[in-house]
């Protein structure tokens, strides 16, 4: 693994979170019916930061949960390693809510597809909007993010590594070379 470039630095990450929070509030005309659900692992921490930011801006405490979509994945048979699974922790009813689904990187779209299926099994939300920190392209499914922190066109041999203090001891987004 070779780091090619730092795409977002710690200060930039803060700014991006702030902008995303504003966009979400602007598009939904406030935060009234919103709930935030992060896809484990890093989407969960991004969601938590957005929740705090929105609370700062609107002075409202949004319901927040973590979703593990592993069991809904379509690639069990093709992978070399068995994925780890963790618990979905959503302590509220999602029915009739406007869900902001949050993940770190949008790539093929398959994780989001799995997350959408998982959410549908939990109830019938009013809407689901997708928020990602980085969109690196190469979609394999017709999925498009509503809120994008940064569009970073990549080649197949490259990878986006999102680092968050909660799990990685630093805040940063790197472009790395896997070839």
């Amino acid at each position: 693994m070779k780091i090619k470039a730092t795409v977002i630095d710690p200060v930039g990450l803060q700014r991006t979170i702030t902008r995303l929070a504003h966009e979400i509030l602007e598009k939904n005309r406030g935060a009234k019916n919103l709930v935030l659900i992060g896809i484990r692992t890093r989407g969960e921490f991004l969601a938590k930061r957005l929740k705090e930011k929105i609370s700062e801006i609107e002075n409202i405490d949004l319901p927040f949960g973590a979703l593990d979509a592993t069991l809904y994945r379509d690639d069990f048979r093709t992978r070399l390693k068995q994925p780890e699974i963790s618990v979905t922790d959503i302590k509220f009813d999602i029915s009739e809510k406007d869900i902001i689904l949050i993940d770190d990187v949008l790539y093929t779209g398959r994780t989001v597809r799995a997350a959408l299926d998982a959410l549908m099994d939990l109830g019938r939300p009013n809407s689901i909007q997708l928020c990602v920190l980085v969109d690196r392209g190469h979609r394999q499914l017709p999925i498009k993010a509503d809120y994008v922190g940064k569009n970073i066109p990549t080649s197949i041999n490259e990878e986006i590594k999102v680092k968050l203090k909660e799990v990685d001891e630093e805040d940063a987004v790197y472009l790395v070379d896997n070839s």
Partner: protein, 307 residues
């Protein structure tokens, strides 16, 4: 993390990490059981056969529900097997079923060692749902899950298995697994119901139920298998109950903090009084619920192993 094995034959030689992985994974599935839609698509396209050569409605239903909740295709094959009945051999039966492209076989059989035998004649993943008086690993795993759920940790806990140890498949799996998880394990029952050299497995032996209650954190109380050889091993059920039965009086008197497990079905008035079976010490129905989650975990971990 993956299991180190393709089959779940027993807990005797299963590494502690595997046991812990199954128990951790079961937490995920336990959460799913509380959802409005208790089903995930994970094992779509995976075919599981429940090969039951011995009646066991509960275990079969638990496995079947676990399979359905993982969206596996499930087929049941139940038959009473016997050595005298001529006709298709066990081997032919298995080969025929496997020829229909089966991924996982869940097997229950009255003859110990049948799951091991299956690994030699089949390419499927084998899950032992109880073989003879040998092992019943998923039952023990759900016992452990329930113990952990209640007490947080198993390491260092004192667990006593009470009853007909010699004619039990649950006892051995409990002993192997609990020892592996760091518990202190004992057995309690009349000597005629304890297999020879049981101490060699590293367990303490009680003949006095009151001491067993007093000195342990958990009692796992086994069913007295009336249909098996127990008839000759004890004078009467009445006498068994008098000297080994778990009563509320005994628990109140000797250990108010004890936890009672029972694999079911209960002979009320024999190994447990109704008061205990329905009372505050027991977690018998939690065990049943957890059984589905634990079996989902096992099916998930074996069913999604990269080939």
């Amino acid at each position: 993390m993956s299991l180190s094995t393709k089959h779940l034959l027993g807990l005797q030689n299963l590494p502690r990490e595997d046991i812990e992985l199954i128990l951790d994974t079961a937490t995920t599935f336990r959460e799913i059981l509380d959802r409005p839609i208790k089903k995930v698509p994970t094992l779509t396209g995976t075919t599981v056969v429940n090969l039951f050569f011995e009646n066991s409605t509960r275990t079969r239903i638990s496995f079947e529900l676990a399979q359905k909740r993982l969206s596996a295709d499930t087929v049941n094959f139940s038959t009473a097997s016997s050595s005298t009945k001529k006709g298709e051999t066990f081997k032919d039966t298995v080969r025929n079923i496997e020829a229909m492209k089966i991924d996982i076989i869940v097997v229950r059989h009255q003859s110990a060692g049948v799951p091991t035998f299956l690994t030699r004649i089949s390419n499927a993943s084998i899950i032992n749902a109880g073989d003879g008086f040998h092992e019943h690993p998923t039952q023990a795993l759900l016992d452990f899950y329930s113990m952990k759920e209640k007490l947080g940790n198993i390491e260092g806990k004192k667990v006593c298995i009470v009853g007909d140890i010699a004619h039990s498949r649950v006892a051995l799996s409990n002993i192997y697994g609990l020892l592996s998880l760091g518990a202190k394990v004992s057995v309690c029952g009349p000597p005629t119901m304890l297999p020879r050299s049981i101490e060699n497995l590293g367990v303490k032996v009680y003949y006095d139920i009151n001491s067993a209650i007093k000195e342990n954190d958990i009692l796992n109380v086994l069913r007295i298998q009336l249909e098996r050889d127990a008839g000759n091993a004890i004078p009467s059920l009445r006498e068994y109950h008098k000297y080994f039965g778990i009563t509320k009086e005994r628990l109140d008197k000797y250990n108010k903090d004890i936890l009672i497990l029972h694999p079911g079905p209960i002979n009320r008035g024999v190994e447990l009084t109704s008061e205990v079976a329905d009372g505050e010490y027991q977690i018998i129905l939690d065990q049943v619920t957890n059984g589905v989650a634990v079996r989902m975990a096992v099916l998930y971990l074996l069913g999604t192993l990269p080939s």
